[in-house]
Symmetry: C2
Subunit: 260 residues, 2 copies
């Protein structure tokens, strides 16, 4: 299957522009799976809860969802994207996996980063794995990478591909994702963004370096730190079912849960 990502450069709050940027970039390409960054349509650095609330959507409703739903249908592929999710009076930093038929599955970020805690509630969905075209797929969002339990849990649930919408500002994640792929023998797809956002005295620079990584830790495709870009790899998800490191080692069977 063809898995892909788009590394974007969103303008804060400009939903139509940001969606246009993505659609223009990805529509010429074929993909079975496309991963977009965390909060890709809204931008990241909300001034307060109320601003985020106005820009948020309920899962499976709204302008961003409808646009992505049409993209998934038109391209006949699964699209995973990050968005601020409104649920009652609360907000979650969430991602949605949208199928070509319009069905969708939700993940709410488990580990919130820094001032996200002023805006979002910690995710309540937990981690789950679903199937699409025979591939087993899981989602985690950005700072979830720092907690090895996130990708591990997805792996134990059977994920072959860990999709990882991100808005990275710390520099370590792109290389750490090689470790995440290796320790779990899964494909990882980190879709990050570039650009800067400023709110008062706070200025964030997003580091790009979006990557598709194979279960043996090879970087199959990547975008650099200074440009937007669509990248894709043709992969066989079943390679992630082979947890053997040597003839005598299986990364899951060799675990010693009684010692942890």
């Amino acid at each position: 299957m063809i898995v892909s990502l788009y590394q974007s450069n969103p303008r804060f709050g400009k939903l139509a522009e940001n969606l246009d940027e993505v659609l223009t970039a990805v529509k010429p390409h074929k993909f079975d799976l496309l991963v977009l960054p965390e909060l890709f349509a809204t931008g990241y650095l909300f001034s307060d809860f109320n601003q985020a609330f106005l820009l948020a959507e309920e899962a499976g409703k709204g302008y961003v969802f409808e646009t992505i739903r049409m993209l998934a249908a038109e391209k006949n592929g699964l699209v995973i994207y990050g968005f601020p999710e409104r649920r009652g009076k609360r907000l979650f930093n969430s991602s949605l996996a949208v199928f070509p038929n319009g069905q969708y599955l939700l993940y709410q970020k488990s580990h919130l980063f820094d001032t996200e805690k002023e805006i979002f509630s910690p995710g309540e969905t937990g981690f789950s794995v679903f199937s699409f075209r025979g591939a087993r797929i899981g989602m985690m969002i950005c700072f979830d990478w720092r907690f090895p339990e996130a990708a591990r849990k997805l792996t134990l649930l059977g994920a072959q591909i860990v999709c990882h919408p991100s808005n990275l500002v710390l520099t370590h994640c792109p290389d750490a994702m090689i470790t995440r792929a290796l320790e779990n023998a899964v494909f990882t797809i980190t879709a990050n963004r570039i650009g800067e956002e400023i709110r008062g005295e706070k200025k964030l620079r997003f580091i790009g370096k979006s990557r598709i990584i194979s279960p043996d830790g090879k970087v199959l495709a990547q975008v650099d730190s200074h440009q937007t870009g669509f990248i894709a790899s043709e992969i066989n998800p079943e390679l992630a079912d082979n947890k053997r490191v040597t003839e005598n080692n299986d990364l899951l069977a060799d675990r010693r849960p009684e010692l942890y």
Copy 2:
């Protein structure tokens, strides 16, 4: 405190020569903690169980232990080293932490690599943390790195310094240890070896690249792939008590065990 390691080039089965190499290299230096490689005195590639059994020692007894005990006393430092441990009729791939006063603590490798399974039993000690000069120290051995649960468990038990005697042949570990340090905010000390060993058709080349890494993922000192060497860093172990990544993030408090 001064933490250190020695990257060695042992000759298989030549215990006296291998001990001499280490003593000559480390005695001129001051250290509070010295980490030596896995199976550093015997070499790695045993032809069979019986050969390993002959080269093995009971924990806290034997020629290698006595030599290290004297080194720890003379240098007034803690020495951690890997050795084949004989216990009844079984063998473990173990490490011992030897205090200047001759006391010692044992760790048995939890995750055996490849044909080690023909020789050794899986470790039964599990992971534990002890104190030395105010620093909290834990041990894991070589392939344990591949399982994020190992360093995580040591961290949850309070380790500030993860000591990691190794005989690495796969290339990924030195960089993955940066992830291990970062995700746990601990110091890591990977003492590896160089050289080759051949047994029948099997040939192993050990990759060196021993490293001391700080809780924020910086490589404080390293040896390259092609030489032996003693390296040391003066560290403040209490830096590993600070699990804050941002004002709002604590790597342990932010865990979501209910979701894993």
